[in-house]
Amino acid sequence: MPRDLADVLHYFLPELEEGPGSAPPGDAPRTSAEPVAPPSNLGPALSSSLPPLPVLGLPIGERDVVRAALAWNLSVETARLGASTILLAPDSDRGSPLWPEPGVGPLGCELLFCPAKDLLGLYETAMELATRQAREAKRGGIVFVRIPTEWLQEADMLWEPMRWMLLLSGAGPRDLDETAGLARTLYERHPMLELGVTLHGVESIAEARNAFDALAQRTDSETTRPLISYGLLVDDLHVYRAIAAQRPVGLAHPQSPAARALMDVARLLYEDARSRVLG
């Protein structure tokens, strides 16, 4: 059967065609800082013919400015790769030093708050956004969700929606202990979860590799589940300067090691996200 490359290119790239109910192209991007209302019913949203964008959960403490900055920078770098990205956080974060001003930010990356009070509410809102955004995302994307770490401790929490999470971990023994404990808890509660780890605050690839290997080996022995590696990030002076200025590292210091590492982790996340959309 003779074929032209154009016939199959969309399988490769994966460009998601717009559905009949998609928003007109002239629609202005959402710039309001108003909180996103949680959906009352996920049924219509999930009935869309287009698969929703993957939702990536990031457990981040309420005072963890560094991890929040890394998450925001990752969403910006993922957008630089051509993805459609949204960063969603609970409304309680509004005005906190964790985030810059809400709305559409650098490279179209959007920061939104929602009035969710628990993990289920947060995830429902994320899914609503992921479904809506899939109609406009020509090249896929990711909805990043900040999950307050204290919500993960709630024993009666509904875990089922969680599918893909990323733990940002330091490489020191204490950090690895904490991450291993969290990984064990998450895997015990949710058999469908895929858990990734990015090591940050490292000074060499060997240091990151050794830390990841130790963490993966421990998680495997405790849960018999694998950890997915999402590279390493550097906490150098450029990161802290960028945090203070609330500017993305990749724009403020594009030649810095921190920017290179962010780009590399974003690439790993985006590749997996595209695979998920196709799968």
């Binding site: 199959v8 090691p257 590749e271």
Partner: protein
């Protein structure tokens, strides 16, 4: 281990997902970029990019197929000829994927079992084409915490091993110092850590002199 064996049929989507997860553990340099990528006549299960930027066509046979992998091998040969002239176009259209326009595509075939003649044919073809461009691996479906998990094992043809010049008593051992060719499915890596960075990327740029 019988209680760990997967019982019942395996949906194609589940098989692809389990294979992708297994490759994540065993072939850390591979990056899956598409699923069910339509080739000349049939969709390729997974399309990946290897460590050298080469396109890797991955096909998995479902357990109930009874042709010993023959149909899969035929599709693989078709895939190679179909993909090769399109590599440079794909590179131009999606440069961010890291595809090398100079690297020839490879195929990786997975099945519960391959017939001996299919394995021998694949090995012979791979030798003719060079650079391990066709490789086979068996998979064993297991149930782990309710999920389908695959154990992968590279296949080497007994026929090819018997007829290999290297195995002949009359042939001196190869003296080439070239690195050994890579097997199709990399042996389980001691580390699943992934990064595209080098140590040089973590060094700060020296200040530009005024």
């Amino acid at each position: 281990m019988a209680e760990l064996e997967w019982q019942g049929p395996i949906e194609p989507g589940s098989l692809r997902r389990a294979l992708r997860q297994a490759l994540r553990r065993t072939s850390t340099g591979w990056r899956v970029v598409a699923e069910e990528f339509l080739a000349a006549t049939t969709p390729i299960d997974l399309l990946a990019i290897g460590e050298s930027g080469e396109l890797i066509c991955i096909r998995a046979t479902e357990p109930d197929a009874d042709d010993g992998g023959a149909r899969q091998l035929a599709s693989a040969i078709s895939d190679l000829s179909w993909l090769a002239p399109r590599i440079s176009d794909l590179h131009k259209l999606a440069p961010e994927l890291g595809l090398s326009p100079l690297a020839l595509p490879r195929v990786a075939l997975f099945a519960p079992e391959f017939a001996p003649d299919v394995a021998a044919a694949a090995e012979h073809l791979s030798r003719l084409l060079g650079r391990d461009r066709i490789g086979l691996a068996r998979y064993r479906p297991l149930r782990h915490q309710g999920q389908l998990t695959l154990l992968l094992e590279p296949v080497k043809s007994e026929f090819a091993a018997r007829t290999s010049p290297r195995s002949s008593a009359h042939t001196p051992p190869p003296t080439s110092t070239a690195p050994p060719a890579r097997t199709l499915v990399d042996p389980p890596s001691p580390s699943a850590f992934r990064t595209g960075l080098t140590e040089a990327d973590l060094l700060s740029e020296p200040p530009v002199p005024a």
